[in-house]
């Protein structure tokens, strides 16, 4: 059985991502690795990450993973999570501005903030459970009820350049895009590995997804 590979580039703890994937993929091997060969041979690739975009891109270049990720995202089921969603875009305002992988058109900007109903300013980071409104049908939404709760923690959001890439939206000081989908690529701002039943269902759908031929 081809392994599921979680890309390990030293940004954040990947143990819970791997454990959640193991919980939904029967006996299929789940590997946490930065080995380009292993990533190229994977059946499914997960690109997670927490932290700052600038350090993320630096690490990916140091580990020579930029091309490998681009190829994987184009050719096999590929799931980006949190920073692994943001890094897919062209530009980020984080760290004084930095380039992303540019696999999807659009940019990453700071959450705009806003006000609670009583006028107090919204807290940033956006931390906690929020509703995810599905923007288009997708095999990864199978069995995930519309407006399910998922766990978020982030201060930046994506602004896709192509509206048809939107797979879900969420409200926090205005509506932002919380998931994107294009071809073999699916990526989410929330943490499915920390989102209990809804998150495990999405991961289950991912590891059983054959992608787009």
């Amino acid at each position: 059985m081809t392994p599921i590979v979680v890309i390990d580039y030293g940004m954040g703890n990947l143990r819970s991502v791997a454990k959640a994937l193991e919980a939904v993929s029967d006996d299929r091997p789940v590997r946490v690795s930065a080995d380009p060969g292993l990533i190229a041979a994977a059946g499914h690739v997960v690109f997670p990450g927490q932290g700052a975009m600038g350090s993320c891109m630096r690490r990916l270049r140091e580990l020579d993973l930029v091309e490998v990720i681009a190829t994987a995202a184009a050719t096999k089921p590929f799931l980006g999570v949190c920073l692994g969603l943001q890094a897919l875009f062209e530009q980020s305002a984080e760290d004084g501005g930095c380039e992303g992988l540019g696999l999807l058109p659009g940019e990453v900007t700071r959450l705009p903030g806003g006000a609670e109903p009583d006028g107090r300013p919204l807290k940033i980071p956006h931390m906690g459970w929020n509703r995810v409104r599905q923007a288009k049908p997708h095999p990864l939404w199978a069995g995930v009820p519309e407006e399910s709760w998922f766990y978020f923690v982030h201060s930046y959001r994506i602004e896709p350049g192509v509206s048809t890439d939107q797979a879900a939206t969420t409200d926090y000081g205005g509506r932002f895009v919380s998931a994107v989908a294009r071809g073999n690529l699916f990526a989410v701002q929330f943490h499915p590995e920390k989102s209990h039943h809804a998150g495990l269902r999405l991961l289950h759908n991912f590891v059983h997804w054959d992608g787009c031929p």
Binding site: N13, K19, M127, G128, W129, N130, P145, F152, H196
Partner: protein, 256 residues
Amino acid sequence: MSLSRRIIPCLDVDCGRVVKGVRFVDIRDAGDPIEVARQYGEAGADELVFLDITASSDDRETILHVVEGVAEQVFIPFTVGGGIRAVADIRRMLNAGADKVGINTAAVSNPELVAEAAAHFGSQCIVVAIDAKQVAPSRWEIFTHGGRRATGLDAVAWAQRMAELGAGEILLTSMDRDGTKAGFDLGLTRAVSDSVGIPVIASGGVGTLEHLVDGVVEGHADAVLAASIFHFGEYTIGQAKTKMATAGIPMRLDYD
């Protein structure tokens, strides 16, 4: 705006066992932190906090096994606090699978640890725990070592400083209310929550479900932490969530 407020049961763990155990639903081993965590996840807890109160340094490693076990089986966020003194301690907890680490006394003796930890691991996993006591009207001070040692630090100013250094969240405990079941110190909670741009978890004093509502509505807390009312089966997480939702607070209710 549909971000839910969070309910967070807190478990004290000593030498790898839940202190005094829990008495809710039909649990096989009420002292097993992994089993208890799994049950709370199924019951709808939004997050969990484990406080390691192990006194002997020889037994400190046991918490790492607990963290590993929880991370393998419970898919909601959890924080581990107690005995965190250095970046190396934080790294061990995160590598074992904790999502966040709580820093308390060490933040007071070495505030730079918070900045260093946030730079290394990201603010999202750094929770600064603040134990405060009221010393004058509208004035609260930080105490360390389980509330025994006064520091002279003003709780509101301290919370702001911690946020500036990179804390991602504040876990705020009223030492006056802890264990009293008289409700949160709402003045303290509100003063701190309104003074920082990061989320604040209210802790200390919960005895009724109304107290949870008050913590959010009056105290402006982003999350509420409680222990005994849940552990001993006085109320379920579901009852607490329904009560809060009825009061108009956004809650994650449909979690089946």
